[in-house]
């Protein structure tokens, strides 16, 4: 056991005479330009890491390739706010962002910059003791939808011959953007009434009373998908805006696993 750890920090403070030291000393350590100022050892650390193990659906990859983006080696961009509460009840909210920064169809690259240029962050190191690690209350994990999705609506029209014809007409476009990943809706008995992006048993579980020195690793698995409305086009992302179930699953299906090491 080392009893002098709290005095082994090397003080590199550069104020006032800092430039003089920097010029005269090739490196502060070699010259021994230490002032002896110290700070205390840390009590220990808890690492909260976010591990993005998602992938991209092949049909979406084919579409992106058709518009000029080779996304075969790219990782879906996922964003999640995690609250880390310490034993003194103070807390830090860390926004983890991982995934490829240029995963967007080329026509939208410019306007996607505010979302995609955000520097990635996939870990946070807190001092002991950590009371709880959880998804920030009220927040949702998000995934970046890299392709525009054309919205259609089935409408009835009357042809010149007086026949009623139903056909899909374009109504709008969902632009590439971050989209919240939502949990399945259930009834009072827990039966799924509307399937969304995350099963009720696959949500990000909170971790209470984290032992000092532990690692809390949050892993997200799943496949980024977008709908393709077959009657209109099997090759271009599209959706019937009145199809609640398909709209609810835009983004794909995901699960969160939390492990403590």
């Amino acid at each position: 056991m080392h009893s002098d750890w709290n005095s082994t920090f090397r003080f590199l403070r550069r104020r006032g005479i800092g430039w003089w030291l920097a010029i005269s000393c090739p490196a502060v350590f070699i010259c021994g330009c230490n002032t002896g100022t110290t700070i205390s050892n840390a009590p220990g650390h808890v690492v909260v890491a976010f591990n993005n193990q998602t992938d991209i659906d092949e049909k979406l990859l084919n579409y992106l390739a058709s518009v000029g983006l080779d996304a075969s080696s790219m990782l879906p961009r996922v964003r999640v706010d995690v609250r880390i509460t310490f034993t003194d009840q103070s807390f830090t909210i860390v926004e983890f962002v991982t995934g490829s920064e240029n995963l967007v169809e080329p026509d939208y690259a410019a306007q996607a910059s505010t979302d995609l240029d955000q520097p990635p962050l996939n870990n946070f190191v807190g001092n002991c003791d950590v009371a709880r690690v959880e998804l920030d209350p009220g927040a949702s994990a998000e995934i970046y939808i890299p392709a525009e999705i054309i919205q259609y609506q089935l409408v009835e029209t009357t042809s010149q011959g007086g026949q009623t014809v139903t056909d899909f007409e374009q109504r709008g476009v969902i632009n590439p953007a971050f989209r919240p990943l939502q949990v399945d809706e259930t009834d009072d008995r827990g039966h799924v009434t509307l399937r969304r992006n995350i099963g009720v048993r696959d949500v990000l579980s909170p971790v209470p009373d984290v032992i000092c020195g532990s690692n809390v690793v949050i892993t997200v698995n799943g496949t980024l998908t977008v709908p393709f409305l077959d009657p209109v086009s099997q090759d271009v992302p599209s959706v019937d805006q009145d199809d609640e179930e398909t709209n609810a699953q835009i983004g794909g299906r995901f699960e969160f696993n939390v492990s403590v090491q």
Partner: protein, 229 residues
Amino acid sequence: MGCGALGLLSFVPACGNTSADASSFFNPAFINTFWGGQFPLTPGPGAAYVLVRVVNETNQQVEFIVTIEREVLAVNEDGEFFQDESGNWVTNKVQEEPVSIQTTATGQSTEGGVLFPCSDSPVTVVGLGEDLLPTDSAVFVDGDGAGGAAGFGVPVGNLNPLTLESGNFNCGDTIIYQAFISTGQVGGVGLAVYLLPGSEQPDEFTGPDTFVNLEDYLLAQSGDDDEEP
């Protein structure tokens, strides 16, 4: 408590219980603060990360802007990393990675840190400010200004970035940036940097080997195509 906190360093003999160690009586985290040996303070020597910690002692909310530079490994026609004739991994560009670390005014969340992997793509520069320039804002202080004004930035000034080439740090080290109250400085905030070399730390602890465990777990999870850390 008969022994009292003041007698901590002479705790065991003074209490007459020579067979007990300090961790039996105190939270190991507390022991680590004074004596170490419970938990690692640096990723090294066992794990290939650079740990950058920030410490806020300003009694105000502070956001630290930490930026590293790393050399990104080049890939060949097969999409694989490759080495030159001397056995060195070939790099083709320098990549900047800015990170924002939020800290509160008081409590345990006045400190925080981020791990930067440094095994495949070496971390070459560590500093404050988005572009590592003296004119960049190193920290943003979110105080309650007059009339509810927004916070302000404190420039990096002459707190020069640390460079691997100069030997200022190595993979496995812990670098600590401290913001403290200082009169006569911009914003009334002074900045300092400290280094704890990983090579000088032990590789065995009474508690979990935090960073080695993390590295092993992530490598096992993702295999060859891991996204670090």
